[in-house]
């Protein structure tokens, strides 16, 4: 579990470079970029100052006692030990303060939960450990994965500015429109948190939650998964780009076009055979992006939790079973269904890669058509 090899050089590094890459951190909650997030910020500051005021009074009285009512000053202790009047006062004043706090909190909460009359709806699906975004009114859907290279995480490369807060394909939304988010999950509970929108909502498997935002400023906003969702919980960032409605329309059209082209390419691919080198290259890239988090880059898995692919019986002998497993996952385990996440080409390539890497050496090639056949139920 401990990586002793990295221990040697990281100890001196720890001592001298703790703050080398550090950027400045805000010391308070963000005001955010929506009307709601501003309301939440104001609410936060109001309660904060009320707490400070109460604390100031109580602690001053206490320190005054410590200072003045010390035995070393030769005082004789008073013997009073109750006063109904004072006790009623310090029960009722807090109640009044609480009511004053509850009023704005109630208003803001009711506004936050009003998801009606949305202009656009995005379905957000969490899975271990990626986000899937689907525009329900348009033909656009894609996965969003951590883009920070493993080398930065393992301290081999220098960390860049948005370390751990960058993704390959961010969610894009229009400004000045009411965007409704629906949230669900494929496996465990995740939580979609974007501080600048004051949104944090759990993605529960089998159920749908909803929330909304109206962003005023175009910009790039970053967040992270906020519910412990397993091993890579810390590596599940969220990036949202807010574009003006015009730019958003252009982006949407491009995405729809790209989707259509990908589908056409997929059809062509069914009639083609890819070479071993091509399959292995695409396969390795796909494996590192989608499979190595659990099965490890070495294919050895994590004993007792994620099975090894290296030397696995299924990988070496049962091709149909292997394709089925990658396509449909294994219910009741952490193995996801990749049929929707990856293209036929990527699935074919990654299976080929798994069957030939780490000394598995079956020499077998899997083509897109083979995967398609299993997907259509025609595989053996």
């Amino acid at each position: 579990m401990t990586k002793l090899s990295s221990l040697r050089w990281s100890l001196p590094a720890l001592l001298c470079t703790a703050s080398v890459n550090a950027t400045t951190m805000p010391l308070n909650m963000t005001k955010g970029v929506s009307d709601i997030s501003m309301q939440v910020y104001n609410l936060h500051m109001t309660i904060f100052w009320i707490c400070c005021a109460i604390g100031g009074v109580v602690f001053s009285l206490m320190f005054w006692s410590i200072f003045r009512h010390r035995k070393s000053r030769g005082v004789t202790p008073a013997q009073f030990h109750e006063s109904t009047k004072v006790e009623i006062i310090w029960t009722s004043i807090p109640v009044v303060i609480l009511i004053l706090m509850a009023i704005p909190a109630t208003k803001t909460l009711i506004a936050m939960e009003d998801t009606t009359e949305a202009d656009i709806t995005v379905l957000i699906t969490g899975s271990q450990w990626k986000w899937h975004y689907e525009f329900l009114d348009h033909d656009v859907a894609y996965y969003s994965l951590l883009a920070t290279p493993k080398e930065q995480i393992n301290n081999r490369f220098n960390k860049e500015e948005n370390y751990l807060l960058e993704v390959d394909r961010p969610l894009v939304i229009p400004t000045n429109k009411k965007v409704r988010f629906l949230m669900t999950s494929d496996d465990v509970i995740h939580s979609w948190w974007l501080p600048a929108f004051a949104i944090k909502k759990d993605a529960n498997p089998g159920f749908i939650n909803e929330t909304w935002t109206r962003v005023e400023e175009p910009g790039i906003y970053r967040g992270q998964c906020a519910e412990l969702c397993g091993k890579d919980h810390g590596f599940m960032p969220i990036v949202v780009i807010a574009k003006t409605p015009e730019d958003f329309a252009i982006w949407l059209a491009e995405e729809e076009k790209r989707n259509a082209e990908a589908r056409a390419e997929e059809q062509e691919l069914l009639a083609m055979n890819m070479s071993l080198e091509e399959l292995m290259t695409v396969g390795e890239r796909t494996y590192i992006g989608h499979c190595s988090a659990c099965h490890q880059a070495s294919g050895e898995g994590l004993p007792g939790i994620f099975p090894a692919l290296k030397g696995s019986k299924m990988v070496q002998q049962d091709m149909a079973g292997h394709i089925n497993m990658v396509l449909h996952g294994s219910s009741g385990t952490a193995m996801q269904a990749f049929a929707k996440q990856l293209s036929l080409k990527e699935i074919a390539a990654v299976i080929t890669y798994e069957r030939n890497a780490w000394g598995n050496n079956t020499g077998e090639l899997v083509q897109a058509a083979d995967v398609h056949a299993v997907l259509q139920g025609k595989g053996d």
């Binding site: 990295s6 703050s19 309660i47 707490c51 807090p94 909460l109 412990l228």
Partner: protein
């Protein structure tokens, strides 16, 4: 009064005890069992603390340096479980075993054989839990709250061990609680009426009822996780007609009262210490009793404030917000009463008082952040960030743990018969106070700035603060070695303690000699 107890000591027949290992294995004596609980708790405090050090070491710098994320999750999970069920709860049970019979004028706990069992199953529960860390796939890695389906469908094979160890911890707690209730109901000295009972006894009575009510709920939750994982039930699996959020409702119906189980006895300890060192009776005894009861009742109505982000109907969110805010009223009454007790007293500042005063200030800070967390719209921003980590560590470390330290120093001369080394104890206090704030206070800022909890690596902006927090953590850990030193030194000898160790101390426990005789009261004492 003192005549009666003197005779108890002189009569050797009442002070015999078996020797060697058998004394501890077979013991039914409340003082021995109290000591066992306290020693066990201290060991667990260091084991859980070591795990916290692993966590802080990994978080010292951005990037992964020392442990894999999966092992990091095991550390956060087991750290939480060990500290809650292994350190804080047994420490309070140990204090209850030692002090409740002495405070109410009883010769022992009401059910001494069960008392032996409720302690001795605990080490086995933790042996099972800790050994699971060495299984293939590792120990529990789903947080101490073990939300399904991460803890059921997606967990490693050690989950069965986790479930069984939690069952055993729960059985131990329930047996301990039954013992406390029966003792307080049946064994009080005849003249000790309900409203003459010391606050520590009152708070423990209420705590024991909370334990009996919620521990079975926890047992139910872990059992459902067990059957979901191994016997194909679908309590928490939507595909089979279950609901993962149901798990959270069940868990927090246990979990919220549980946090009061870990703080009510602390209120009792502080309510004993503050009057003693202020040389003035506790202000508002009756309202303290009522406040304790109100907090306990309200604790059953607020569980869903841990779940505001799970997607509840807005009216449920409002209900749980209002109820949660309301808890600050009785809690505030307690703080005001302690301050009023100090007001115009004649205060001295021995170690127990120092810890008690630090408790009042720091627990109140934890209370303030708790009030902020109650405000639902703001909670969406705070939830599952380091702001929450700061909040509950202020309540549980500078709250519960500091009160236990205060109690240990307060009663140590009574247990051992010797005064502890005041100078060392003051060192322990100041080192703990400074380092604990260095450790937990910056977490508020890190949380507000947007760092989620339970992540093994973080964005670069959090680097400086995390380095600072880790340094605070290591210093706090080291400071606790001083505590061990003070305790060991005190147990081995020193200045003889008088019966009434502290000038202003009130209560039956101060009327028996120090050390307290093995069997305290042969005839019920008279309560003034």
């Amino acid at each position: 009064m003192s005549v009666i107890t003197e005779s108890a000591v002189v009569d050797e027949h009442h002070d015999h005890k078996p020797k060697g290992i058998k004394r501890w294995l077979y013991t039914t004596n409340h003082k021995d069992i109290g000591s066992l609980y306290l020693i066990f708790s201290l060991i667990m405090f260091f084991i859980g603390g070591t795990m916290a050090m692993v966590i802080r070491l990994e978080l010292f710098q951005p990037g992964l340096q020392f442990v894999e994320p999966h092992f990091f999750n095991q550390m956060t999970t087991v750290h939480g479980l060990v500290m809650v069920f292994g350190a804080v709860m047994p420490a309070f049970t140990g204090l209850a075993n030692w002090m409740i019979p002495m405070m109410i004028g009883a010769p022992d706990m009401a059910l001494p054989r069960m008392n032996n069992w409720s302690f001795w199953i605990l080490p086995f529960a933790f042996l099972i839990l800790l050994s699971s860390l060495f299984m293939p796939g590792g120990g529990p890695a789903f947080g101490w709250t073990f939300y399904a389906p991460l803890s059921s469908t997606y967990s490693s094979d050690s989950t069965a061990l986790f479930v069984f160890s939690v069952h055993i911890m729960g059985i131990s707690s329930i047996m301990g609680a039954i013992n406390v209730i029966v003792t307080i109901f049946n064994m009080r000295a005849p003249t000790m009426t309900w409203m003459k009972m010391p606050m520590f006894v009152w708070t423990w009575l209420v705590t024991a009822f909370l334990l009996i009510m919620v521990m079975p709920v926890l047992a139910g939750a872990v059992t459902m996780v067990l059957t979901d994982k191994y016997f194909a039930t679908s309590f928490f699996d939507a595909a089979g007609g279950g609901d993962p959020v149901l798990f959270q409702h069940i868990f927090w119906f246990f979990g919220h009262p549980e946090v009061y189980i870990m703080i009510l006895p602390a209120f009792g300890i502080i309510s004993s210490i503050v009057p003693a060192f202020s040389r003035k009776p506790l202000f508002g005894y009756a309202s303290m009793v009522y406040a304790t009861g109100s907090i306990a009742l309200l604790s059953f109505l607020v569980w869903a404030h841990h779940m505001f982000t799970t997607g509840m109907p807005v009216f449920a969110e409002l209900f749980f917000m209002y109820c949660t805010m309301l808890i600050s009223v009785p809690t505030g009454v307690k703080v005001f009463n302690w301050v009023a007790t100090m007001w115009r007293g004649a205060m001295t500042f021995e170690a127990p008082m120092m810890f008690a005063m630090a408790f009042i200030v720091l627990f109140t800070i934890g209370g303030f952040s708790g009030l902020m967390l109650a405000i639902t719209p703001a909670d969406f921003q705070y939830h599952d960030t380091y702001f929450v980590v700061a909040h509950f560590h202020y309540v549980l470390v500078t709250g519960a743990v500091f009160s236990i330290m205060a109690g240990a120093y307060y009663w140590l001369p009574k247990w051992t018969g010797f005064m502890y080394d005041e100078k060392l104890a003051q060192w322990h206090f100041w080192c703990s106070l400074i380092s604990v704030n260095l450790l937990f206070f910056p977490m508020h800022f890190v949380g507000l700035a947007g760092m989620p909890r339970r992540i093994p690596d973080y964005a670069l902006q959090f680097a400086d603060f995390n380095a600072l927090i880790s340094v605070g953590g290591f210093l706090f850990g080291l400071s606790q070695l001083l505590f061990v030193w003070v305790v060991v030194k005190c147990a081995r000898g020193g200045e003889k303690a008088t019966a009434q160790v502290w000038e202003g101390a009130q209560g039956l426990e101060w009327e028996v000699p120090s050390p307290a005789p093995y069997h305290t009261f042969t005839t019920p004492p008279e309560v003034k």
